[in-house]
């Protein structure tokens, strides 16, 4: 009993068991979180490399570095990797896993073994996705959207890639139900629903979407695989099917998936801003309400991806109206974040810089989204580089920057060591500049009418593309610098105390790194998550 007790007390990075096996078979949520951290960020780097290759190809009109077929595979894999392997699991699987039980005052998630299974499924899906690069007749070339009929007839490894997405979806569902159960069942009894950190609320809303929407993608991709292998034809007009139904089913999942991606990011920002302004978050309940509203209403707007598809005008009317209504809770959140800073005491530490640039970039993404929600203008910019730019502003500028903010905020807690702040600030500046050059010029080129997924383009689009490509290099430098700094900080940085930022949520009350079962004594909730009176930096 004694040895067990001491094992519980040691920090989770230094259990008696050593080696790879103590990680990849660990059911500890923090270790699983770190497994996700390593795997997700590795795939992120692969995705960046593919993205850089795409931009390089577009540096000049005509063939530049690869063939058309290779280019098509590149953007397909860039999309599949970034969407399914990076941005969807990103914040929930990495930080959700590490923080959810800590913030709830729990010892672990409800189903630790299921949690490990989720990671294994994630790795299986990733392996299948990488496997689809080889064998058969080449990597998939359908785009990450797998639109039929093209995906049903192309000879490339679409079935394997679709199976990979299916498996990854399964992993996502299991993570979601695990989180939901944990929030309902393992919250420390001292914490009421309205005392929960906003990050938890965002994970809660996200998890519902994961559980309810992901299966639709699963069945849709399954039908594509069956169409390819058995000639099923449920989307083939020659067999009584309808290609538009594929798009409906696909976006029934994939639009809510956008909220799976962004909501946890919003949760992160809601945590960081109060800490670095030393002020209670402005309008806690409004933010909670808008989180749930986004999750719910976000499931009703999938049709705005289909305004030009041949869908009925009635559907265009309803989906457009609802799309604009979803904009409102997002706006409320932005206003609340900014208002939190009012009369606070602001520190521009690296997490705060990323959080503030999140607000800017996400606002750009959200506001350009209004153009896409309005059916008239959408017709012009739909399927152009404008959409690509908009999408990257929300997903990369939004979720990506939120993830970076979160890593700068919480990694010192997880590893007990601090990175170099000056390098972090420099990396942020490069990253932010490169980002705007890259995606800003993409949007302009799109407004001029350059369709997306174009291997070759007319000479009038050259300038915008060249500026974008130059921006992509700057962006890549910023990212490498940032990750290098974080990695160095986690392994060899200055040791920090339990609460380096002076935050008020429960995870900061335990040691850094936390012990195996998170808290030595059952944590008591003595203050609200944003009540900084008397909280000291330690």
């Amino acid at each position: 009993m004694n040895s067990a007790q001491s094992e519980v007390n040691t920090n989770f990075l230094q259990t008696p068991r050593k080696g790879l096996g103590s990680w990849i078979f660990s059911t500890d949520h923090k270790r699983i979180g770190i497994l996700y951290l390593c795997s997700v960020l590795s795939f992120f780097l692969v995705g960046i490399a593919l993205g850089l290759a795409l931009r390089l190809e577009l540096f000049s009109p005509g063939p530049t570095i690869v063939s058309a077929q290779t280019y098509n595979s590149l953007f397909t894999l860039h999309g599949v990797i970034m969407i399914f392997l990076f941005i969807i699991p990103g914040i929930p699987a990495i930080l959700g896993n590490i923080l959810l039980p800590l913030q709830l005052g729990a010892k672990d998630v409800s189903f630790p073994r299921l949690n490990l299974l989720s990671w294994w499924l994630y790795m299986t899906g990733a392996a299948l996705a990488l496997l689809s690069l080889f064998g058969g007749s080449g990597p998939p070339d359908t785009g990450w959207t797998f639109y039929v009929p093209f995906s049903a007839i192309t000879t490339t490894n679409v079935s394997l890639a679709a199976t990979a997405a299916f498996v990854l979806g399964f992993s996502s569902i299991l993570t979601g139900l695990n989180f939901l159960t944990t929030i309902h069942r393992l919250r420390t009894p001292y914490m009421s629903w309205t005392q929960m950190p906003l990050f938890i609320w965002s994970l809660y809303a996200t998890a519902w979407v994961q559980v309810l929407a992901t299966p639709i993608l699963g069945i849709t991709l399954l039908l594509v695989v069956l169409e390819r292998s058995l000639g099923l034809g449920l989307f083939d007009p020659g067999k009584g099917g309808d290609p538009l139904l594929f798009q409906h089913l696909f976006w029934i999942y994939s639009h809510p998936a956008v909220y799976i991606m962004i909501l946890p990011g919003m949760g992160v920002i809601s945590e960081i801003i109060p800490v670095f302004t030393r002020k209670h978050i402005f309008g806690y309940k409004a933010i909670v309400f808008s989180t749930l509203a986004i999750a719910f209403a976000g499931s009703l707007v999938w049709g705005h991806h289909m305004f030009a598809s041949g869908m009925s005008d009635t559907a265009v009317f309803v989906f457009s109206l609802l799309t604009f209504i979803v904009a409102i809770p997002s706006a409320i959140k932005v206003f609340n974040w900014v208002a939190t800073m009012y009369k606070g005491s602001v520190t521009l530490a690296p997490p705060m810089l990323f959080a503030l640039s999140f607000i800017f970039l996400f606002s750009v993404g959200g506001l350009t989204g209004l153009v896409l929600g309005a059916p008239g203008p959408d017709i012009h910019v739909h399927d152009t580089h404008f959409v690509v730019g908009h999408f990257h502003y929300t997903m990369f500028g939004g979720t990506g920057f939120a993830l970076f903010a979160a890593l700068h905020f919480w990694l010192p807690k997880v590893f007990g060591r601090m990175y170099n702040h000056r390098v972090a600030t420099g990396a942020w500046l490069i990253l932010f500049t490169g980002f705007n050059i890259l995606y800003g010029s993409m949007m302009i080129v799109g407004m001029q009418g350059m369709p997306r997924r174009y291997y070759d383009y007319l000479p009038e689009f050259t300038l915008g593309n060249q500026i974008a490509t130059a921006g992509s290099w700057l962006l890549a430098v910023g990212i490498l610098l940032m990750f290098g700094n974080l990695l160095r900080g986690c392994l060899r940085g200055e040791p920090v105390g339990d609460n380096p930022w002076g935050a008020a949520t429960l995870e900061w009350t335990t040691s850094s790194p936390p012990p195996l079962e998170n808290f030595i004594d059952e944590p008591e909730v003595t203050r609200g998550p944003y009540d900084f009176k008397g909280v000291n930096i330690s």
């Binding site: 139904l245 029934i252 499931s299 009635t314």
Partner: protein, 95 residues
């Protein structure tokens, strides 16, 4: 925390009665399907299927004896499915 682990045990008699009702409803639905009611047929079949489903949910799956939360969650899932089907018809019906 483990307060609600205490279980309601359903009697065999109740389960048998539910089963009998399910069988009866099956016979009814087959019977109705043999009469031509036009479009009503599909709605009648769905209505009977829904009542059968409710029986299974409430008794076989113990939803009646779980905390109210489970029922709300189930309704949320069901509503989501209905929305997905319903909204797709915004396109299909008016195309």
């Amino acid at each position: 925390m483990n307060d609600t682990n205490s279980q309601h045990i359903l009697s065999y008699a109740l389960l048998l009665r539910v089963w009998a009702a399910l069988l009866a409803l099956t016979v009814v639905t087959v019977g109705i399907s043999r009469i031509d009611l036009g479009a009503l047929n599909i709605w009648a079949a769905l209505a009977i299927a829904c009542s059968k489903g409710t029986l299974v949910l409430l008794f076989f799956m113990h939803l009646k004896y779980e905390s109210r939360l489970f029922a709300w969650m189930f309704l949320a899932a069901l509503c989501t499915l209905c929305i997905f089907i319903g909204f797709t018809f915004l396109d299909v019906l008016y195309r």
